[in-house]
């Protein structure tokens, strides 16, 4: 058994623009030195599919590493640090389970299915507004979709979003570990706290509406399942979480279809094929890199990780592992998915919004491919930082308008 800290491992330039654009040459070179483990500074980077699948499952040995992220920014003792270390994503064990349980059935398939008309109506209205332009940056278009769905689920007014958009975008960039962001992160926290505080107070003054996510959360708070602070921090987490991840995945899915146009019309005709396309999109390239800190030494495949080691998991590219997936860089919605992708993570912290994500991305894809015809890329595709919420920063397209149709029953 070798101590990870004593191993000679390749360093990966996770903050380098070349890595953002295409990590695979770096990963392939790193695999020559060790099959699944590399370094990023003093942290460990786990890139092998089986290693991520097995190690990320070890909730008893791992906890979120948000304190390490705060320390990287030198922001200890700030209200933003309290939020980063106190909110649900940063918790583990019974407190985390309690906060997750307070969500009730809001993110379950049943509740998402109940709100399918909201999802469909949101993308339809957005397309009504944008299609006449006959060309736009798809990444910008997509930025208005999942957040509008989330506002609908919460029962809040979408008109408030423009004033918090910059703060949302800053919060979702926090895991890029770009220290230039600190001023914006601290200012953004104040904006989001004021926004969510007003949201809660207004709803409590004017009365709870029936069946909205916000009411579920306020009811959970009133029942003692979370504090006033937990409630606002949970909302502050949901807004950026619902903003970036799904918009980036929808944009990536459209990018895959631009590169593989033989699938475009199949998505337009068949929502079931859209679900397969979304599953393959998650396999090929997803958005999340996950940070964990070791709470107790453990061994895996000849390597001993020690308490306080920080592990970074490459969930976004795990399912490109050629030892697990045949021809992994080929985008093929018809492939037999022999292994489940790891885009949503594993263990107790598995993505809360995964069922919503899959549904809204598939429904979005279905309508976009109906109403956008002969799409073509007309400018530069730029990538976001790999660390943080990865994906495309720009996807400029032009197209011919297609037909608006009545939507069929769900798949």
């Amino acid at each position: 058994m070798q101590n990870a800290s004593e191993m000679k491992l390749p360093q990966l330039p996770l903050q380098d623009a070349a890595f953002d654009r295409d990590p695979m040459p770096f990963i392939a070179a790193a695999r020559e030195e060790h099959p699944w483990l590399a370094r990023f500074g003093n942290k460990f980077f786990i890139h092998g599919y089986e290693a991520i699948k097995d190690i990320q499952y070890r909730d008893a040995n791992l906890r979120p590493a948000h304190d390490d992220v705060v320390a990287t920014y030198g922001a200890e003792g700030t209200p933003w640090a309290d939020y980063m270390e106190g909110m649900m994503l940063a918790q583990w064990g019974p407190k985390h389970a309690q906060l997750r349980a307070a969500m009730g059935d809001t993110f379950t398939p049943r509740n998402i299915n109940r709100h399918i008309d909201l999802v469909r109506g949101t993308i339809s209205d957005l397309l009504d507004e944008w299609i006449p332009k006959r060309g736009f940056d798809f990444a910008e278009f997509a930025s208005y979709f999942p957040i509008a769905v989330l506002c609908g689920l919460l029962g809040t007014d979408i008109s408030e979003i423009p004033r918090i958009k910059h703060s949302l975008e800053t919060q979702t960039a926090v895991l890029s570990l770009n220290k230039d962001l600190i001023k914006d992160l601290l200012a953004g926290y104040d904006v989001l706290w004021d926004f969510t505080d007003k949201l809660v107070k207004d709803r409590e003054v004017y009365g709870l509406q029936d069946g909205t996510m916000l009411d579920q959360l306020i009811s959970s708070k009133n029942a003692g399942q979370m504090s006033e602070e937990d409630l606002r921090w949970t909302l502050m987490l949901l807004f950026p979480a619902g903003y970036d991840t799904s918009k980036n995945m929808l944009t990536l899915a459209i990018y895959h279809l631009l590169e593989n146009p033989q699938y475009w019309d199949r998505c337009a005709e068949d929502i079931g094929f859209c679900l397969k396309t979304v599953e393959e999109a998650f396999r090929h390239t997803s958005t999340a890199t996950i940070f964990r800190k070791v709470t107790e030494d453990f061994d895996y495949d000849g390597v001993r990780f020690a308490k306080d080691d920080v592990l970074i998991f490459a969930n976004s590219i795990a399912s490109r592992d050629p030892r697990v997936f045949d021809d992994p860089m080929k985008f093929d919605p018809d492939r037999k998915q022999t292994h489940r992708h790891l885009a949503f993570g594993r263990g107790a912290h598995i993505c809360l919004g995964q069922h919503l994500a899959k549904t809204q991305i598939a429904e979005g894809l279905h309508q976009v491919t109906q109403r956008i015809k002969s799409p073509r890329l007309v400018g530069e595709v730029r990538w976001r930082p790999y660390l943080g919420v990865w994906g495309l920063r720009t996807l400029p397209i032009e197209f011919e308008p297609g037909e608006k149709r009545l939507q069929a029953e769900p798949a």
Binding site: A97, R100, R110, Q337, R340, R346, G347, I350, L352, H355
Partner: protein
């Protein structure tokens, strides 16, 4: 110990002896039974540990809880007698239980 048989979609059977008090999911994973993913580790959050309960045992195993029902809407076209295996604790009464796994958990 309680005897439980897990049957994969292709008919492969796994007969195991499990202690009372653990979930059907835990017992399966520990015994290396294929066909249950349990990506969330047993917190009724992912729906990838679904099992079909043999109808003869449905009365003893019991119906799903409300949160299970909410998760089981993940898929359609499966038998009604199904549970999330992470939410079914094995009891001595289950000796001889047969459960089946779906062709795919995702």
């Amino acid at each position: 110990m309680v005897g439980v048989t897990y049957v994969e979609a292709d008919g492969t059977q796994h007969q195991i002896d499990a202690p009372a008090g653990v979930s059907l999911m835990e017992a399966a994973l520990k015994a290396g039974v294929s066909g249950i993913l349990a990506d969330c580790g047993g917190s009724a959050a992912c729906g990838t540990c679904r099992v079909f309960i043999d109808p003869a045992w449905w009365g003893r195993v019991g119906a799903p809880s409300d949160i299970e029902e909410a998760m089981l809407e993940l898929t359609t076209g499966e038998p009604e007698e199904r549970r999330l295996s992470c939410q079914v604790l094995i009891t001595e009464e289950f000796d001889g239980l047969v459960v089946r796994m779906p062709e795919s958990q995702f």
